[in-house]
Amino acid sequence: MNLRRQSSLARILVAASAFALVCAHAATIPPGTVLATKQEMVRNTGAEPESLDPAYIESVSAGEIDRDLFEGLTSTDHHSNVVPGVAESWKQTDATTWVFKLRKNAVWSNGQPVTAEDFVYSWRRFLDPKTAAKIASTYGVYLLNGIEIVNGKKPPAELGVKAIDKLTLEVKTAGPVPFLPAVVSVAQFGPQPKAVVDKLGKDWTKPGNMVSNGAYVLKDWQVNSKVVVEKNPTYWDAANVQLTRVTFLCVEDNNADLKLYQSGEEDYMQQIAPGAYNALKAQYPKEIHNGPLLGLRFYGLNNTDPLLKDVRVRKALSMVIDRDILANKVTADGQVPLYGLAVKGLSAIQQTRYDWADWPMDKRVAEAKKLLTEAGVKPGTHLKFTYNNSDYHKKMAIFAASEWKTKLGLDTDMDSLEFKVLIRKRHDGDFQIARHGWVVTFNDATLFLSLIQCGSDVNDDRSCNKKADELIAQGNASTDPAKREALLTQAAKLAMDDYPLIPLLQYSVPRLIKPWVGGYDEANGMDRYRSKDFYILKH
């Protein structure tokens, strides 16, 4: 079932033929549903947004709010599908050129129409070194001259985006990007109103100043408290938007979040505290939700470390961890064990699995011990494990340490750090084994493969398998989605046989949502929701 879904998704995304989806995508309300008179929702995003300016957004929580305020060429709905946004159709005219046709009735909240020129301005601004957007290079890499502009080697005017006419946008990519429509759905490629930005500078995102083109406009923003948005009457699809007012909270502490939910102050939790899942599941059977997220929990292994240089050592460490106990007892919140790089639901790749994944644990331990002896690692050797302080990671780390101790006789020195310091150490290679997690921002396998590509910015483990890299390049150059999928899967298997990292679990999203909130889809692997997809049932 999964295979079929992935290939069909791939087909939609990668087709070299014209798309003509004109239907409006919004809250699909089942017939016969009775809606409440008051359509308002309070939702916790888990963190105070670092900015509401599309160019400056980095975090998931800020992205969620911004996708309500600004709509890009394409959008992601509550089933993780890429759907038309400001662009009503698009087609890929050659390997590196796409043409987007914008709809006539897309307007800004001040009445001005949204034109192709707006996107040219916005994307140039996003990549302009003077703007200094932190993740400019992460997304700039997909557009022609994007990286050169970020590096200051070329002026922003040379970005591969051109307004053919008021409603037609031509995008040139740097190399073949079969999943471009998914890329441009991210919040950072949202349009920005040039006149307002020029006039007000940094203050343009404040309530009262902001001009946006999305389903909602900014009503109020109290730092560290809440962001309030209200329905935009001029939005082209306003007829299908049910919620009139959404309040975004920024509560980080899971327990405070739960208390707000229990006392009725919010309708939608961000996440359930570790260890509380089973109890809450029993207490709120109708309100608990848990679905897989397109994310990977893993432990990074520094491939250049003297102890871990030998692939046998890395394999041994990976083999003895009992991922079933980890999933069922230690984390106990619906996560799924992983024995490969790709997670379930990831587009353009099949999941792979180590052959020893199905062996009984005794056999795995015996084999691992043998590998260690061959590699010359004696019991009593110390491992160094680095993680960021959080109860959840601590619990998993203690489990891993005890597995390595009881099964292989290795002692683990645990080092709990602040998150920022952990990131630094990982980037600098100042670690032996480090806790890591990876979640996609749009649904394509390349995001995961970058973890194991030679010299990749995000490959903290410093692993390198040249053959796998070649296969990835071939896959991305291919226009046949089935062939691409096969090549990428092969590449992943090849790379993972080198044991560059220890895959553990696929993230899940356990949360509580009030029973009167409609539109939530547990199969939404990206966990991105637009407020226009929600509605309130009569209660």
Binding site: E50, A132, I147, K202, N224, E252
Partner: protein, 306 residues
Amino acid sequence: MWAYVVRRLLVTIPTVLAVVTICYLLLHVTPGGPFDAERKVSDAVLANLQAKYHLDLPLWKQYLLYLNDLVHGDLGASFRYADWSVNDLVARALPVSLAIGGTAMVIAVIVGVALGIVAALRQNSAVDVLVMLFGNIGSVLPSFVLGPVLVLVFAIMLPWLPSGGWDDFAPRYMILPIVLLTLINISTIGRIMRGSLIEVLSSNFIRTARAKGLPMRLVVMRHALRPALLPVVSVIGPLAISSITSAIVTESWFSIPGLGKLIVNGASDRDYTLVLGLVVLVTVLAVLLNLVVDLAYAWLDPKIRY
């Protein structure tokens, strides 16, 4: 006396300067910078960021630029809250923290002093023990236990109050956080009051007053209270400062957008300007409050001269 006040106010300037310099150096020495993110920031982007925020200049030059802005009342742009200036952030968070922390202090002083007096007058009796038992709850149970207990009882089991959040100084969101902070402060004030009053009550001049036949109540009110309040006043300064600027656990548990949250996020995100801005604020507050406290000493003990 006024010369003393003026002198103290003038000293604020070098004090603030010294603190800012120390913190400035500390921030730049601490590992991790404001631009560390989950996805590695490419070198080119890092260079762009540093250019934008003047971080590519030599340290002393940056420092002078910062001081220049400071003198003009501009605390700079925040790194973490990119759309807001530090002035904005502080201006919004300060009234919130003042409302919660300030109210808590006032109540704590009144109740704490009262409890201390009662306990001192009935020293070593069952009343003393009971009063101290109750008064000490705040110091004996950590705020991250008391907070959840308060919420469990008053927000969930008895749905009288919200379990957190903030709505433009709406009273119902302020009650539980104020109660929490008050409980914590009552114990300190109460115990010091009790101990200090007991000491004063055994002084000679008190004995004289009692021997003259003055009723105990009058003795306490007219003669014993003033000198006994001295150590209490000493701690009001630091307690008030910490209630207003460092009520971190209270603010994060009840989701209050106050100064504590800003400073924790600022420190962990290495938001240089935000941290420095808050440091300036706390220094100024501390200096002013301590000045008031020192002046209060003079009022309470007429023999103290400046």
